[in-house]
């Protein structure tokens, strides 16, 4: 069966205006999400690495400039009317800012009632209320504390969970969550992430969890993709990637997380670079070469392929060139095995 959502070798280049160079936001990424195998896929990277671009492409909010995003086997750009409606229902989004997504003039009920009406989820008002209440409880909220209120009367954590509830109302197959916890307190972060995990385990919903926080990705996800400047640096089972990172960038990311240890080893670590990354990506060669402690002349010559170092893992680094190189578009298959 065709995967629910599949990205096949997708690229996105934003055209530069007025003589500026164009920006490559995503380079040849492949990914597959199967409806019958719900899981959480984390996409990790620094700002500007292309993770939000990926979310927009999968949600159909932007069109790829190369490759294809497919929904149940058909190109997202060529969906028929009924397919598009099904897609809009199957794939839901939760965005970063739980403050900006609400219209402050409407009560929060509005964001929940609209999809119920639009997709005719309930036959009567009473049934709609019932459904909304049930969904709010599923994300750990008490309906009586939420309904009838205005957004500013709720805390950031509550607002973000209402957004998760809104997505859940439609019984989607996939939720694309773009930095859903970066704006809430550390203590609440865990609660929201656990409710996301529950959606996968109990409701069979897959989640694409986009974040810059590798530690939370490790906690909730099954599979991880590490992006660096539009390219996949490393991808695979989260347990392997985080506990035994192979790409020098993944290693750097993990070492840069300050730990609550007695050992004060964080600031004294020799940092690859006070150097800021250049604004323009080198036309050829590995995009990490200018910061890589292991850089060799080979790295400057050509962009590395993704090498399959383990059955479910691929690393874009020439150190691993003795492993088989993945053909373009095959990453999704490798990760889905």
């Amino acid at each position: 069966m065709a995967p629910l959502i599949e990205a096949v070798d997708v690229s996105k280049r934003f055209a530069g205006g007025l003589g500026r160079e164009s920006t490559l936001a995503l380079a040849g990424l492949s990914l597959a999400i199967h409806a019958e195998k719900p899981s959480i896929i984390a996409v990790v990277g620094e700002s500007g690495s292309g993770k939000t671009t990926l979310a927009h492409l999968l949600l159909g909010l932007a069109e790829p400039t190369g490759g294809e995003v497919r929904y149940r086997g058909s190109d997202l750009r060529k969906l028929k009317r009924d397919e598009r409606l099904a897609f809009r229902r199957d794939v839901q989004a939760v965005f970063q800012d739980p403050y900006g997504v609400y219209n402050p003039f409407y009560r929060v009920d509005h964001v929940l009632a609209t999809p119920v009406r639009r997709f005719r989820l309930a036959a009567s008002r009473a049934q709609a209320r019932e459904l909304i209440g049930e969904t709010l409880r599923a994300v750990g909220l008490r309906p009586e504390e939420i309904l009838g209120r205005f957004p500013h009367q709720l805390s950031g954590g509550q607002r973000q969970r209402v957004m998760v509830a809104r997505a859940l109302l439609l019984k989607p197959k996939l939720i694309v969550a773009d930095e859903p916890v970066s704006m809430v307190d550390a203590s609440l972060r865990a609660t929201i992430l656990s409710s996301l995990r529950k959606l996968t385990d109990e409701h069979g919903i897959s989640i694409l969890y986009i974040t810059h926080d590798l530690a939370t990705a490790y906690q909730v996800s099954d599979t991880i993709l590490v992006l660096y400047r539009a390219h996949v640096a490393e991808a695979g089972a989260v347990e392997r990637v985080v506990t035994a990172p192979q790409h020098p960038y993944t290693q750097l990311l993990i070492s840069a997380i300050p730990r609550a240890h007695v050992a004060r080893d964080w600031l004294v670590q020799k940092d690859e670079a006070g150097r800021a990354p250049p604004a323009v990506i080198a036309a050829q060669g590995c995009c990490f070469a200018d910061r890589c402690p292991l850089v060799t002349p080979v790295c400057l010559g050509a962009s590395p392929a993704l090498y399959r170092t383990e059955p479910r893992r691929a690393v874009a680094c020439v150190q691993f060139r003795h492993h088989p190189a993945l053909p373009a578009g095959d990453l999704g298959k490798v990760l889905a095995t």
């Binding site: 700002s47 203590s187 865990a190 906690q219 600031l267 940092d271």
Partner: protein
């Protein structure tokens, strides 16, 4: 004990609200030694930013300092007039405010923003001296000299944050208050910025107050940590003590809420919600969220007391 560079004694800050007074900072006392790195940790709404601002007398109405004193070396800040306070800010106590990288003036070059600060504090320099000073400052925060002639939009987040640190330290302050200086930055850039701050602080022999909620960052950067909850300090101890032997249940919860990189499935939030300051629970403010709470916790407010080298406000410690 060496001469304290900053002392906060019994500070109380409140905000007037139609439904009653919001006690944002409640009877907070601590002191900093020269060159010390002190952390203030807590959830949003715990009063840590308000405390940082009230040290500089930067609380605006409806907020007001109700009681308590702040001493900078031998000066009681309440004795200074507004002009004296203005002179002291930046030159003696500097602030790197929250989201400061967005506080740079978008239409001025970085060098202009530095010279404005110098001129405002009465430094009359020649062109050459100015250039010299800017070059030194930028070099100290690890920025190339070309940044001087750039506008903020030409800089990355990390570079903007460094520029803010350069401005904050341009008059060689003795105390630097940094309010979540890296909260919007990636981990790799965060480490670079914190390393820069550490280096500068050592150079200036300045004390630093780092305000934040990331216990990992605190563990790696500060010497001593104060944990705030609902406007009060609930634990103050050397950082090694806090990490190995947190005494307050809230401190333990804060550390536990940090996602582990060693063990999966160990994600623990702090149960319940941060309290509404207008309507605090009686007794210990943390008791509704505390798994160990007893009847005494519900009725009697615990005082901050000394327990072998640490200060803890918990009946059970």
């Amino acid at each position: 004990m060496s001469e304290r560079v900053l002392r906060v004694e019994g500070l109380r800050v409140g905000f007037d609200h139609p439904q009653g007074l919001v006690q944002a900072v409640d009877d907070v006392s601590f002191a900093l030694s020269p060159g010390e790195r002190f952390g203030l940790a807590g959830e949003s709404g715990s009063g840590k930013s308000t405390l940082a601002l009230s040290i500089l007398r930067m609380i605006k109405a409806p907020g007001r300092i109700q009681a308590g004193e702040v001493w900078f070396a031998g000066t009681r800040l309440a004795d200074l007039d507004e002009e004296g306070m203005r002179a002291l800010r930046l030159s003696d106590i500097a602030l790197v405010p929250q989201g400061s990288m967005n506080s740079l003036n978008p239409v001025l070059r970085i060098q202009q923003q530095i010279t404005d600060a110098l001129a405002d504090h009465g430094l009359r320099l020649t062109r050459g001296e100015e250039q010299q000073r800017i070059a030194t400052l930028l070099a100290a925060v690890g920025l190339p000299n070309s940044v001087a002639r750039m506008y903020p939009h030409e800089l990355s987040g990390g570079m903007k944050q460094r520029a803010c640190i350069a401005i904050a330290t341009c008059l060689r302050p003795k105390v630097i208050i940094a309010d979540e200086p890296t909260s919007a930055l990636d981990v790799v850039v965060q480490r670079q910025v914190m390393a820069t701050l550490a280096l500068l602080q050592r150079d200036l022999a300045a004390a630093v107050i780092l305000v934040g909620h990331d216990m990992g960052l605190m563990a790696q950067f500060v010497d001593r940590l104060g944990v705030m909850y609902a406007g009060r300090l609930v634990e103050v101890a050397p950082i090694a003590e806090i990490v190995t032997r947190p005494r307050h249940p809230y401190t333990r919860a804060l550390i536990a809420s940090l996602p582990s990189l060693e063990r999966r499935g160990a994600l623990a939030g702090i149960p319940g919600l941060a309290p509404v300051l207008r309507d605090l629970p009686g007794g210990c403010a943390f008791h509704p969220r505390c798994t160990l709470a007893t009847d005494r916790c519900r009725t009697e407010k615990p005082k901050l007391r000394n327990i072998d080298g640490a200060q803890v406000a918990c009946h059970l410690a």
